[in-house]
Symmetry: C2
Subunit: 406 residues, 2 copies
Amino acid sequence: MQRALEEIREALGHDDVISTDPEDLWAHGYSEWSTTNPDGLPVAVAYPRSTRDVSILAQICYKYKVPVIPYSGGSSLEGNFSAPYGGISVDFAFMDKVVQFNRDDMDVVVQPSIGWQDLNEQLAKQGSGLFFPIDPVKYGTMKDWVINLTVVLADGTVIKTRRRPGSLRRATLKLAVVPEDLSVAVVPFPSIRDAASVAAEVMQTGIPIAAMEIMDEVQMKVFAGTKSSVRENINQVKRIAKAHKGGEFEFAKDEQEQKLLWSARKESLWSMLALRKDGEEVWSTDVAVPFSRLADIIEVSKKEMDDLGLFASILGHIGDGNFHESIIYNRTKKEERDKVEKCVKNMVKRAIDMEGTCTGEHSVGWGKKDSLLLEVGPDTLGVMRAIKRALDPHWIMNPGKIMDVP
Amino acid sequence: MQRALEEIREALGHDDVISTDPEDLWAHGYSEWSTTNPDGLPVAVAYPRSTRDVSILAQICYKYKVPVIPYSGGSSLEGNFSAPYGGISVDFAFMDKVVQFNRDDMDVVVQPSIGWQDLNEQLAKQGSGLFFPIDPVKYGTMKDWVINLTVVLADGTVIKTRRRPGSLRRATLKLAVVPEDLSVAVVPFPSIRDAASVAAEVMQTGIPIAAMEIMDEVQMKVFAGTKSSVRENINQVKRIAKAHKGGEFEFAKDEQEQKLLWSARKESLWSMLALRKDGEEVWSTDVAVPFSRLADIIEVSKKEMDDLGLFASILGHIGDGNFHESIIYNRTKKEERDKVEKCVKNMVKRAIDMEGTCTGEHSVGWGKKDSLLLEVGPDTLGVMRAIKRALDPHWIMNPGKIMDVP
């Protein structure tokens, strides 16, 4: 390990490429908002500046069989960037640039750690009229917007998954045209079942909504399109909501208020974290189910969650069949921890029984390996394992996540 | 091989599961509309009735290391279902059913050989208001609509890639709501460059068009949405077309005429085939490039194609940056064949140089292996090869396609 670190320092030629500062190791191996934090920390944190740096680092780690764990936003919730087997955490903080913007092709080449909000701010500043969308209801998920990736393989080989040449580039993303009009509205319902039913019905009617969010007491809907189609879509949704005893729509008056309405949802995790008392943690987890089961699972799961007698809430990107539970609890009290874990596992089991999935967007990471196995079974996991082994024979690329190290 | 066939007949218990009729072998190993037809035919054609049949067949082929080649619509153009190494062609003709339709979940479980038109007719007959869309511009490509697959692995193991239990099922597909309104229009342009420029600009403006087709002389546009948004979108496109010297829009008056306008495009390959004289073949191939290069590549490629002095045309799903060349030629005249091949290879090279791809939808098959290597390079192909080897150690699953047998 020490030899590997020395070789990396020497090969990359800049001193601050490797940190072994204890605080740095802690920040890259532990997360206060993660549901699980395995024992073990990375032995070092590397800060590459280019694909070449990453390739050299990978070559050396491959030679010494040192685990390599990628780190970018650090926002994951299932221990995805934890280091249960030590190794080097590779922090892409310095690789956060837009490399090339192709306005006419409606795509952009970016480095791995650029934030999507940052990217959209840069696109807006240039008056490009384009943005990188990630609302799964109207625009699909991340994978639908990736044209190609530059990938450093386990042994340091650099490949591009598809065309667009260049050595420093990392990912080419498709962009969408910014909608002419946008409207945000909040509508109250007498019960969460009513709210979930409306969400499912809106989707089944095919109204082109950009996003639809549910919260225990507040829901938000965002419509995007041309001015006249937005008006039309709002009326369609109003009719459906009315049939389900929905209250009056409260529309945002201006862009400022649109942001305000959204922030209630976007910052929900941080608001929960702020409410913690000493020694408390948040268990935040998500599942997704087919539309027809959405109202059922949310109603039953909310009831079980409320019965815990803890501070807890349900929210989610409901337009995609996906929702989240967030529960504040004290990890040091075994009984409390056990009952929270049981409640979460019951929700996951329920989603799988309804032909759903154990996670909609948090992914499997370290914490949900059992749930994935329950969902897909040993044979499907065996296929994933065979592919993993083919590309990572020493099992050093983020080991212990999604499936166990053999 | 003979022992394998006997075992399959015995295990599946019905006589007509295996055919060795020469005409059947020919029909499953040769295609008159394919650009390439390698030497070699399958030794037998199997007609499984269920996933269980397929699994047993795969187990036996794995034991005897017999190649297995899937066959469904038979419409592929690059020798995708050819049998250069012999083996068994598995024809899914009897597995063409809708297994389960979940109206409220907006999905459907189907067997592998159901046609998309057939599926949509069944959905329409039930008055479901849903359909399975495959227009890449508005709705994305096939992969965006697949929820899960039931897959028979090389050794016969049956896996499901994601949830939705059941033993006979094969693929769960998402469905979309049928648009309230639909409009089809044709608009003439003085040159193919003008036409291609309009297509690129329409995409860059973000108008939600369902499909946009280009033909040497005729173009078609289909708009889908609500009544008022369709009107609005048409006006936007009219403005763009006018700026590029586009002629008057000719709209279809009714559904009958919509179908008629489309049929010119949908049946273009069959019309070309009907025009062949004795001994002639059609070389039909496709590429895709970023929007900004579309007009350039179409103009240059059409010029080179016209210079061949053969009957040839350009058409394509231009809204996706994708277009096709179809050239009628006589395969037995070496000089003619050579110049057609050179013309096609030049177009492919040109697309790759423009950071495009060697095929938009025909795929690589047997005929475009060199082009794929040129596009992605040996290291990326190496990754594909490693995954192939991990899942198909005897290299018996459709061998010789996409990459060479090692």
